[in-house]
Symmetry: D2
Subunit: 333 residues, 4 copies
């Protein structure tokens, strides 16, 4: 059985998923929808798919699953609509910026028995998977601390910042999901600090560009997330897990592994500086995992509940900064 | 002028300083005092010094400066006593575990005009100095974040734990000093999480073995300190400074730089696993700095005020864990 | 214009090139030929191509270019046949194991005006290309020495060894090409040592498994190639170029960039251990270069002459071992 | 028993050894001789030793051993003189630039039963010792290849070049000793290439500045030595040993282990750029080994025979370049 896909949203991330679907021997891209007709047409042409409306895709008997890459504020509604039509849904993070709205959406998913996977692509990065595998194999003993350094090469446009829900819900949320994925226990408390250091406009937009977050589980395991919107040296994506028996760490990635030695020193190139380059393999593996789970009837992960849990942690981080205190996760709505 | 030293305390750290003094061409070890006579005698014999009482050293015209390596609860009193005798004082951290006591002691130092340096050895580590130099030279732009990973190879004996003042005052204090030294602005707020993960006895002793601390300056710069009492792979001592223009990082240190490649992978040796080995060069440079400042009449650093400031931050961290909130540094005291 | 390909040989390396052709938007795989019918059929089915005979492909008006992946002893004849039919030819190295035969073949290529590219895939590895780019940009000054370490994970089957032409013509030839590509001057002299250390059967087959080769150009530039058929830690492929102004080096490649730290030390995974994994990107870039040159009418490189030059150096290395002396390249027939 | 030393030659390397002797608790520097009186006086004053003539030191009952740091052309004569007086001798490499002269000298040493150690300091470098230890412990299986990259930061003064005996006897000789030390079998054949690339004056002085050497043992083990007189990035000193079970490598050394990351890339400092800095620990360990062997009556290594063997290999390398052929070691002298 080949999984037949409809793609909702033909923008930057839509293209990434279209390529991942098309490159997967168990999947086929059938239809593309986008409010901007030329974008949909171009993408459909590239992969031999048809342009259709969202409604037509929802009704289409030749579409088994959809990939939702539309603007965030449409995610929950689309998930519900396609869940009700019995389509499997892969939705880019987040389900919604509002915890209550996510909960309502997941209730529909549950009631319809629909299959939903949320796009936390980093879980599929081969380096981070190797970290997780090392943990699962017991190579570092019992997990004690997870240290995540996650810095963007540069801040997104202010327009994006204003619609993003803030750095915790937009950027940190990926790291919160990674922390949950690696801690082996659910975080129960959050503390966070936030500053505006790279661009005062970000502050005027009500957001931060530099944040640090502490997480603690019921068993006392801790995670530290260090975020900045600006790293001049590239897309800084490092993860360490300390356990009772040792530590496992994933290094940063470069396009090429060379070093030039001169009187000035030994110079390696800067890091890959764009999330799509950095996570090319992860995006392909993510869709592959979705496709394989649909074909084999196995559970989808990360699930809608994973999406909710990360959002709740982001919400707790926001509240921690606002109220200047440790926030229990159970306090969040 | 050669600076003539008296050494108070002939224990483990006393030996380190005795060697540093003796190896310094501008210094001479004249006298050693220790409550345990054989310890004093052995150390004195090793370096051609005399055994004397603390009181005799205080009165000795042939002693210009003392190094205080006695138990912590004697530090403040000894500093005051030697300050009053006009001796220059190098005191191992901390001045005292109690902020009020430190303030009182520093008042005496100020009134007597005595010269006091506090032993934050890490400021003299050549790798960390190179980090600081890179920052000072503007190579990473304006400082935004300091990330410190600092893990001991193993927990100290429980007896030590009980007398230590707790992990924040005993271990984290070094990192708090480093954070102050590298942030370029004073921290104004602290948040911390603490857990017991390596040994429940540490919890029963009222302490933690795994802590993470966030610091924030008035200008919004942040620091993250990640501590554990146990790193099976050695003494993990890393520092990173992120600035507007880049990042500078100091790597961990090994005894030898080899790598063995087999079918199992590429294996480098574990880290240096003892603070004295890791910081051998730092201890020598620390004493050299003390001696040079005395000979040239330049300011001593880190000063008593630096010792106080780090202790205040440690105190704030304790309070943050206890009260589950962000603590303003101005509250301490 | 899309370049329409016929593929000759559906074995291991044939599959690699079929994938590279199919993944290239400027190319299409039209036909596959292989003496083993099921192999041809399976490969043709995978990429929507037809199975045809070699003769049919040679005559086919819908085939612009061929990729020759058949056994080595058929290469020269096939090149000549397709050159005469006006097809562009990409031929896996080597053109032939015999220098005279290669010369004769290249004469046909020249007379027919055919376009020929030889498969030295390493020139297209992104890391090695970055090394070459650094050299071309003058970042290391004038080239003085090229140091190549090139070790296979394990010896090929003895059957292969016997037909391979020996390690210099089979394995070292890649490094000889890299040395020529990086030295910036033609080697004029060769010295080599050869031993049998990994398997005495290799010696009985008249071959070596461990060789070192020195090259010298007219201007005195030197290259060192160090080969072994066995590196237990993976496929060891390193290149360094020393120049008057510095050095540039390409590191080895791993599947994942993690490190596990324990009391035993810091362990990174072994290297990629198969040439197809190690050079996946290189094979794709190689075909892309062939396709682009055909479409744009630009020169093909590496050319047949490059294939010849590397073989001449291999021949000189064989003679150097046999005769125990430095061999001038001009001596080779 | 404390070993009482006389030091012959108070130049650059003499100072290094004076410090090593003085810092060793089992040794004492008693006397210093140098043709340049102020040099001898300054060094003697620094370490509380007396200035004496060579002859007085030879007769002195309070001198057990001498360190010979005089010009090369005096070494053999001094060794013989002190051997006859029953003093233990540590002599900087080489014993002499002429193989026959070395043989004659070692005959005297043998006849007198004197104890002689030759200064191949690199055997005492902690990193290289760790390489050797890994080999001895069988961590890489049976040794097959030794790859040594050894480059000076810059060429010595031409005056020195002219008196040096040529790069093979002056610089490569260290690497030849390391190769012998690591191969586990004696080399029986040598091939070498030599060029002048950094400074034509070196060529006019009859020497090379860029050489590569191949060695082969009777068992077919091989070593490759790659030398240059100029590495702009520092003193490049790397060693790799490939065995049947894996590889062990020693990395280069820097003064500090930091990395600065900016938009230009990740920059580490250049290497230590002076042999005395790079090998500080090695010089101290070398003298410590000499002292310990004298005190314990155990064999001295490297011995005079080791010095001879390395010189013979250097001689063979010279002949190989001159005659354009593989030279059997047995041909020399």
């Amino acid at each position: 059985m080949v999984v037949r896909f409809g793609l909702l949203g033909a923008g930057r991330i839509g293209k990434v998923h279209a390529q991942a679907v098309s490159g997967n021997p168990g999947a086929r891209l059938v239809a593309v929808a986008d409010a901007v007709a030329p974008a949909a047409e171009a993408l459909a042409a590239d992969y031999g798919a048809e342009v259709r409306t969202v409604e037509a895709i929802a009704e289409a008997p030749d579409v088994d699953a959809v990939v939702i890459c539309t603007p965030t504020d449409t995610h929950a509604e689309l998930i519900e609509a396609f869940a009700r039509k019995g389509k499997a849904v892969f939705c880019e993070k987040p389900v919604d910026l509002d915890v209550a709205r996510v909960r309502a959406c997941l209730k529909v998913v549950e009631e319809t028995g629909a299959r939903l996977m949320v796009g936390f692509n980093r879980r599929f990065d081969p380096h981070f998977r190797a970290v997780r595998a090392a943990v699962d194999e017991g190579r570092v003993g019992k997990v004690e601390m997870v240290n995540i350094t996650s810095r963007d090469p540069g801040a997104p446009p202010l327009d994006y910042v204003r619609r993003s829900g803030g750095i915790f819900r937009d950027m940190t949320i990926h790291d919160l999901d990674m922390a949950r994925w690696l801690l082996g226990e659910e975080p129960v408390a959050v503390a966070a600090f936030g500053s505006v250091l790279t661009d005062p406009e970000i502050g005027r937009a009500g957001d931060f560009d530099s944040v640090n977050v502490l997480l603690e589980t019921a068993g006392g395991r801790q995670a530290v997330i260090s975020n900045s919107r600006r790293a001049t040296y590239g897309y800084d994506q490092r993860i360490e897990v300390l356990g009772s028996g040792g530590m496992v760490a994933a290094e940063n990635q470069r396009e090429v592994s060379i070093e030039v030695a001169t009187g000035a020193g030994f110079l390696r190139p800067p890091l890959l500086d764009f999330f799509m380059n950095r996570y090319t393999a992860a995006y392909a593996a993510e869709i592959a995992s979705f496709v394989a789970a649909l074909r084999e009837g196995t559970p989808l992960a990360p699930s809608g509940q994973d999406g909710l849990a990360a959002l709740v942690l982001a919400e707790a981080a926001v509240r921690s900064v606002t109220e200047g205190r440790r926030v229990e996760v159970s306090e969040i709505g």
